[in-house]
Chain length 240, copies 2
């Protein structure tokens, strides 16, 4: 049984400002909630219909779930967890492989990039504050479970990149630059991916130390952000 | 000036069934309409506010555009064009590089795949009838102009693949198979990409002649459809 106030609160978590104010996010669906629980993620509230076999804190009816859900076809479970954005201790980017997102706007793209970082076992993903919200339901869903596995940080990228050791290259995709097929094995590197519409912000572009290009044979002006990141990661991992 | 009937007709083109019944699709935005016109695409009706500098067939007010538009922030132009799905003459897939989409559901993914095919100068993209609609506004927008440049066909993939010459490999991404990094230069090949949720349909999977795997170092279960296609295309083009 959900009171009107509880229902309203759950629905209000669709809004980023409310999520930030309450420090809570909401996530729905058997697969993603199951993955969060399996990973030991501290979900505080789990609303479920009687069909949901896992842990629950509130039993609700299918009609109540339909009203709380963000989806046209609601699932049997909806959960609420704490928003926890890890800052970026200085020196972190010097070691290992980092994917840095500079204003990637679409939550689906951010989720796809998390999934990619997970596939290629990158050490971390850093999001600029103007990237799509990590705790947006679409981000979490598009990550297909990688949301719980990939280490993420939120940081002002221009500042963070300014502090990176000179021995750690900062890679940016560009239409000119060294071809991605000739990238050497890099144990430490930061791969910066820009916004879908505007590319890299000027302050971040100024920090790129290696411009990498994906050979183009046809006429498209650019590639989707996740597609470009995938090709760079595959080539970096191949070079090992 | 838009009559109520005209407005209703434009809005009805958001619905696939109506598009099919009328044989018309609708597209909005300065960039995409500009690209279609520049490519000589036969747009039949162009509704624009006085700010639109290009060709127009109907001048409308900003308020009328706001009512006709699918977007929360309408642009200055909205156009209507004929739906024309090219069939696939037999023998077509024997030559060149083909990207075949087997039930890719998301119009954004289909658009991203068209853009990718354009970047890598693939010869064509074939969509199964259960893939997202090529004439969905989101497909056209996500293609970033590649919609007009890439040759597309719609065909029953299981039937089309059954007719492919034995000398033309049919590649499918899988968790097991030869590594994508060792793909030889293939002048003729079909790259088959499955649905986001279900992968390849059984009838199409039965036609795959080379299983290709993208080396995984981390824990993600799979990669996004466009991401996997990108990595295969980059490796195929690299092998040349």
């Amino acid at each position: 049984m959900l009171t009107k106030a509880e229902l309203q609160r759950l629905r209000s978590l669709r809004d980023k400002k409310t999520r930030e104010a309450l420090g809570l996010f909401v996530v729905e669906g058997e697969k993603v909630v199951g993955e969060l629980l399996a990973a030991g993620f501290p979900l505080e509230e789990i609303y479920a219909t009687p069909e949901w076999p896992g842990r629950k804190t509130h039993i609700v009816t299918a009609a109540e779930m339909a009203r709380a859900s963000h989806f046209p076809t609601p699932s049997s479970v909806l959960a609420v967890g704490p928003i926890d954005r890890a800052p970026l201790p200085s020196g972190t980017l010097d070691r290992g492989l980092t994917l840095a997102l500079d204003g990637v706007q679409d939550p689906g793209n951010v989720g796809t990039l998390l999934r990619l970082a997970d596939w290629f076992a990158l050490d971390r993903v850093v999001l600029s504050p103007d990237s799509a919200d990590l705790f947006h339901q679409k981000t979490i869903n598009a990550s297909m479970g990688s949301f719980v596995r990939v280490r993420t940080h939120t940081a002002d990228l221009a500042v963070a990149l300014a502090g990176v050791a000179a021995t750690t290259p900062i890679l940016g995709c560009d239409l000119v630059g060294e071809t991605v097929h000739e990238l050497p094995a890099l144990r430490d590197a930061v791969i910066v991916i820009g916004s879908e519409g505007r590319g890299l912000s000027p302050a971040v572009a100024a920090r790129i130390t290696r411009r990498v290009t994906i050979p183009r044979l046809g006429a498209a002006e650019s590639l989707n952000a996740a597609v470009a990141a995938a090709i760079v990661c595959d080539n970096l991992r191949r070079a090992r």
